[in-house]
Symmetry: C2
Subunit: 574 residues, 2 copies
């Protein structure tokens, strides 16, 4: 990769990774270095230390990095023969392995002062330019991400071009920590985890309510698009994953069990269920497009170290869709899917949707003609939609091109949730067919699509995005009734029943707290609306509506409140 | 068991089993006899034949049974010393094993003509009394139901006291076969099974819709009773089942998997999820009763030979409920549960509900006082309900008394679905507690309850009970629009959208079939209502409503139809 293609930010981050390794080498000379690339959010360096680093070591390392930066050492980079590199790194098995892996006869060597590192290049001019960095945390990793390989220690950090950008980053992180969905999940009694099921979420009543609401809302959208919701087994013969080609790559992430001496997979994806449903009887072109949706529970093994609240779990529900159609139907189906995605994401205020179309990779299966026609269909669908998109040349899966949708949350962070993926392979692997108008058997195209992606992860994103203040339509309790004294209890009961009749999710504060205490409790619960009722309200047959932001409306009738609930529900108002 | 406690019907059936064995011995002298008891629906006899019996052999065996009956042989029964019995059955290892198992020094021997059989008694006087019997089918079985044991062949039959009863039975069976839910499931496109997942149902769109409707209807009932719906993992450490005591008895029926070198169970029941949810934080008496419900997917190993459509599967969803309460709350909670059960079952026309209360068994855990008080609570709850009940002395589970609810379907068959089970053990095994008003830690009582039981099985029962004609509120398609010519398509579209606005599940017959063909198709699909629209209806802005039984109503307005849909939905009309 020529240097001029590396962004200035990546140069800073990559150079800061060298700076980190340099500092570690000076402080702990016995540490073995491995690799230290820039990342989307900063950089990391993986070490094999003599004694494990602890969080308390980070300030000392940071201090030494600053000292080396002040020395303002020039960063140089040159190509050297592999034989010479092997001599330099004769005691470092990782670097020796890397040297073998790099094609050609030479490798790059970066130097600053008496520190050197194997490196393909992309640096700032001198260490003096590295001023705005921060070490973040220490975690476990494995050499070449192979969990059967050598365990290493990773120090992660970030760096920016200006102090202002670093400060903004720190503020974002601070806010994200404050509204960490794991914290909110506990505070709002939404979900929990236990040691008897590492990575498997337990949804409490309020969390399960949110999941149900997310499902029901999407169901309504899919119904209008003539989807058929199916429910298929969560265990099936592992032969199916051998047939789909997943087994070879994915076996280590699959949970297996045995039935009648046959090996079964606890499904890591839902496709085989949809495929077998398609194959359940012969299909005619008249049935196409056949759109099967499933809220499919999947299980995937993940290292316990990478598990992270609802963001990374070992069991989750995908809002999966599989569309079986004729090639000439792809464009319309993809457009419909894009519309469903856009409509759904905008309900949560995700108005800044980024779209990337990934095209044919080097290892592609299927004919050039099929790829060209498929990519054209995807482009046409995107052109007919409201969304702007970029093209990621050669980034498609080997089995077909795909479109990925990114959203930006309220803290400026990007998330990838929705995807549309064309699949030329599985129709072939599973010998899918339909009877064409000609009477001949033809092979359908298969489109995989997800809108939320993982419902658990999407829920976690929503919690942080809304800082726990779920929109009215999605709040497990929408309205809480607070009486100033017990005298208004009957009045409040009557109003509660009316609201329940209209399917509003209500609760009454039955405590004997003063009204200020009741308001505080409801605010901690982040209930969207409080209906406050005192003697005055009761005498005038009115209600005071207090929003969770403190804003109040007085003298509302029950009809006013009901009309408002309908508006808030229908228009997805927060 | 003294003879006078055996019903006359059981005597007839048991004697007919002897008659069957006698005929088999005469026709196939090399056949080894094992056992042949009466059952709820008839009798069976398990044989080890020299050459396997085939269905074609049944008429020949039946003919010989009739001949032996005509011989009118007297049936005698006497006690003989075990030593003598061992001599008689020296070549029959099964009978020898039985002789060892029978307590005491003597065993019973039944004789008719030159045929004898080991038998504890309970016969008619002579074979001439055995006139109204029928052999039904041949199936595989195992000696002492041990699947690692000797495979046997079972011939199943039935017998009655009068020819009329036998005819009625045959008619019922014929009807049940005609409306076999497996047949209906295929015909109505509701569900299917595949060889890649033996015993795991695939719900097609229409079947999944019915399951969802059943869930949603129950959810509304449970909401009113302040249930908290949770969703817990379907895999958890098998330690939990060791702790609950299930593992020891139930291990062979559990699917296991491994995660991070720990053994996980794919849950065969949902209790541990509810228990861990209860334990998630300290509980106060103020939170009790805490009612947790879960539509919990469970997996249980069953021999492939006993799998039977949706009636017996390897994965199913229980509408599980766990109530954690104080002892003095049991009565009210059980009464509420009984009411929910009664209300739910009656929606399907199951008006004849039988109830049995099972009391303390010999191997009971827990103190006498706890049992007495619990049984009293259950009795009081039952006495306060509308339902009559019988007491099954000593039939409770070792961990608590239970109430079982039976229903009778439209073909007169009985099914047990709903249960309420008290549990003294798990609160102890899992060290559950709550802070009582006194400030002391106390142990809650746990009530397990299910209303549908297995949703899959209940669905199967409903299909047969309604002969496929699901009630209006439960039909996947409620209304089908049929136009006499294409001229009425626009008119029909307008009406369809109006119905959809009111959440009615509608479909339009888009074919170019004549109206008679469209009606026939809708009838095969068992759609409750057809809305027929011709030129006359369009001109008058009316609709003809045709019910699936052929009855018609003419000249209805759209408002009439909408009012009727509401009535049919709300009142659970078929």
């Amino acid at each position: 990769m020529p240097n001029d293609q590396i962004s200035q930010l990546d140069k800073i981050r990559h150079s800061t990774a060298h700076l980190l390794a340099h500092a570690v080498k000076e402080l702990y000379p016995d540490t073995v270095l491995t690799i230290g690339p820039p990342t989307k959010d900063g950089f990391f360096y993986d070490f094999l230390p003599k004694t494990n680093f602890r969080d308390e070591d980070l300030p000392k390392i940071t201090q030494r990095m600053k000292e080396i930066a002040e020395r303002d050492l020039a960063l140089t980079h040159k190509q050297i023969p592999k034989a010479e590199a092997r001599k330099i790194y004769k005691d470092n098995p990782f670097k020796l392995e890397l040297i073998d892996l790099i094609p050609g006869d030479t490798v790059g060597l970066a130097q600053q002062g008496d520190f050197d590192d194997l490196c393909k290049g992309g640096h700032v001019k001198s260490t003096g330019q590295l001023k705005n960095f921060k070490l973040l945390h220490i975690s476990g990793s494995y050499w070449r991400a192979d969990r059967d390989g050598q365990p290493l220690q990773r120090i992660t950090g970030t760096a920016f071009a200006t102090p202002k950008e670093l400060r903004m980053y720190e503020k974002r992180v601070e806010e994200a920590q404050k509204y960490d969905h794991r914290k909110l999940g506990k505070q709002l009694d939404l979900f929990s985890f236990v040691q008897e099921g590492v990575g498997f979420p337990f949804f409490h009543a309020k969390g399960q309510r949110v999941v149900q609401l997310l499902k029901d809302d999407l169901r309504a959208t899919l119904n209008k698009q003539n989807y058929n919701e199916i429910a298929t087994p969560i265990m099936l013969s592992d032969d199916l994953w051998k047939q789909s080609g997943h087994y070879a790559h994915y076996k280590d992430n699959m949970f297996l069990s045995e039935i009648d001496e046959k090996s079964y997979a606890i499904r890591p994806m839902n496709c085989p269920g949809a495929i077998l449903t398609y194959k359940e009887r012969p299909r005619s072109y008249r049935e196409l497009p056949l759109k099967l949706s499933e809220f499919g529970l999947v299980h995937r093994y993940e290292l316990s170290g990478v598990l992270h609240g609802l963001f990374r779990v070992r069991s989750f529900t995908q809002d999966d869709g599989h569309i079986f159609c004729m090639p000439n139907q792809v464009e319309d189906e993809v457009l419909d899917t894009i519309k469903a995605i856009e409509k759904t994401l905008k309900k949560f205020g995700f108005n800044n949707i980024t779209v990337a179309l990934s095209t044919k990779p080097d290892n592609a299966m299927g004919s050039d003609a099929a790829w060209e026609s498929a990519i054209l269909s995807l482009k046409n669908a995107l052109d007919r939609s409201d969304l702007k998109y970029v093209i990621q040349e050669g980034e498609g899966a080997f089995y077909g091109p795909k479109i990925e949708f990114g959203i930006e949350d309220s803290m400026g962070r990007s998330w990838q949730c929705s995807t549309v993926q064309l699949d030329f392979c599985n129709p072939k692997n599973f010998d899918l067919s339909y009877i064409a108008p000609s009477g001949q058997k033809e092979q359908p195209v298969m489109i995989h699509r997800a809108i939320y992606g993982s419902m658990e992860r999407f829920f976690g994103i929503l919690l942080e995005h809304f800082k726990g203040n779920l929109p009215f339509w999605l709040a497990p309790i929408q309205v809480k009734l607070l009486t100033i004294t017990d005298d208004q209890k009957d009045y409040a009961q009557k109003i509660m029943h009316q609201l329940q009749e209209h399917n509003i999710r209500v609760a009454m504060d039955e405590s004997s707290d003063p009204i200020s205490g009741k308001i505080k409790t409801a605010q901690l619960e982040k209930v969207p609306w409080m209906l406050v009722m005192g003697q005055k309200e009761m005498d005038n047959n009115t209600i005071t509506l207090r929003y969770r932001n403190g804003k109040q409306e007085f003298g509302l009738s029950l009809q006013d409140v009901l009309a408002k609930t309908k508006k808030y529900n229908d228009e997805y108002i927060i």
